[in-house]
Amino acid sequence: MHVWINGERRELAVGASVLDALAAIGVPRTGVAVAVDGAVVRRSDWPSTPLPAGARVEVLTAVQGG
C-alpha cells in the first residue's frame, strides 16, 4: 500500500505501523512527533497503530526558529 510521509509517496506493507513508517525514512526516534491524517499519535502508540492505505503521515522535530 502507499502512504505519504512528509509529502513523499512511500510503499509500505499492508498493516504497517507508525513505527514502520519511521523506520522507512530512517529518522531518529527521539525529539520527533508524528501526526497521521491530522491527529497526533503518541510515542507509546507508534508500534500498535496501523496506517490506513493513503495515510498522510507528518513527522516533525524542533529546529532553530522564533
Binding site: 512528509n6 509529502g7 525514512i25 530512517g26 529518522v27 531518529p28 527521539t30 525529539g31 520527533v32 512527533a33 508524528v34 501526526a35 491530522g38 491527529a39 497526533v40 503518541r42 510515542r43 507528518e58 513527522v59 516533525l60 522535530t61 524542533a62 529546529v63 532553530q64 526558529g65 522564533g66
Partner: protein, 255 residues
C-alpha cells in the same frame, strides 16, 4: 531592599527576563555563544518536518546549556494548524509550554486575532501553558488572559523589522491592565528598545533577530541582557515626572 523578583509564568520560575529565539543564527557555535552571553533561561524553537540527514542540533544545544524549551507554532495560519503543531511539539520535546503564533500573511506576519483567540482557548482547555504572540491591542490581550493564557506577548513592531516599539502607549496600557506576565515579543532592534519595553512595565522581552543577525551577535546578546536588567530596575525605581521648564539641581547662588 532585597525582594524575590523572579519571573513566574504559569507556575514556572523563569530565571532570566530575556527570552531568546534561535532563528537566524549563522550556525550553532554562534548561537551557543549568544545564548550564554544573553543569560537566557527560556528559548524558542520551531517545529518542522524532520530531515533524515539533519540532526537534532538545536535541541541538544539547549539541553546542554540547561535552557528550557519554548516551542512555537510559527508558520501556522489557522487555529487548527496551530493546535496540531502545539500538540506535536508537546509530544516531540515533552513540554506543555507553547508560544502560540497564528499569523495572517507573510508580508506583515501580524497575528490573526480571530484565529489566535480560538487556538488559545483550545490549547488552554487541552492543558497547555499558552504564551500567545499578539498584536499590541489591549482588548485582545485582555481576551487572551480571560481564556486562560499564562502570559500575553504583544509585538513592538512586526517580526524581524527591528522597528522597536511603535506604540508605547498601547504597551503601557497592556502592562497596566494585565493580571498575567507581559512579554514584549518582536520588533526589538537594539538594546535601548529592550530597556524601553521593561520601563513600560513588561515583565520580559523576547527577541531573536536583533541578536542573531547583529554584526556581533554575542556582544549584542550581552547588551540585551544588560538592557533588560536596567529597564526592569528603572521601572521598579520609578522615574521622575516630566517637566516643561527647567528645575535647578544645584542650590541657588547666595544673594
Amino acid at each position: 531592599m532585597v525582594m524575590d523578583d523572579t519571573l513566574v509564568i504559569g507556575g514556572r520560575k523563569i530565571a532570566s527576563r530575556l527570552v531568546m529565539g534561535t532563528g537566524g543564527a549563522a550556525n550553532l557555535e554562534v548561537l551557543e555563544r549568544s545564548l550564554v552571553a544573553s543569560g537566557t533561561s527560556l528559548t524558542t524553537v520551531a517545529m518542522r518536518r524532520v530531515d533524515a540527514a539533519g540532526g537534532t542540533g538545536v535541541l541538544d544545544l539547549l539541553r546542554r546549556l540547561g535552557i528550557e524549551l519554548l516551542p512555537n507554532t510559527a508558520g501556522c495560519r489557522t487555529a487548527g494548524e496551530a493546535v496540531l503543531t502545539a500538540r506535536l511539539a508537546r509530544e516531540a520535546v515533552a513540554t506543555d509550554l507553547v508560544k502560540l503564533e497564528v499569523v495572517a500573511d507573510e508580508r506583515t506576519l501580524l497575528p490573526d486575532p480571530i484565529e489566535l483567540l480560538d487556538a488559545a482557548e483550545q490549547l488552554v482547555d487541552d492543558g497547555f501553558t499558552v504564551l500567545p504572540y499578539t498584536n499590541d491591542d489591549p482588548v485582545l490581550a485582555r481576551r487572551l488572559e480571560q481564556v486562560g493564557c499564562a502570559a500575553v506577548m504583544p509585538l513592538g513592531s512586526p517580526i524581524g523589522t527591528g522597528l522597536g516599539i511603535r506604540n508605547p502607549h498601547n504597551i503601557a496600557m497592556i502592562t497596566e491592565a494585565a493580571g498575567v506576565p507581559v512579554v514584549l515579543d518582536a520588533g526589538i532592534g537594539t538594546a535601548s528598545e529592550a530597556a524601553q519595553a521593561m520601563e513600560l512595565g513588561c515583565d520580559a522581552v523576547l527577541l531573536a533577530t536583533a541578536v542573531t543577525r547583529a554584526g556581533d551577535p554575542e556582544r549584542m546578546a550581552h547588551a540585551m541582557r544588560l538592557a533588560v536588567e536596567a529597564g526592569r530596575a528603572a521601572h521598579g525605581a520609578g522615574r521622575v515626572p516630566r517637566r516643561y521648564w527647567a528645575q535647578a539641581s544645584s542650590p541657588n547662588l547666595d544673594p
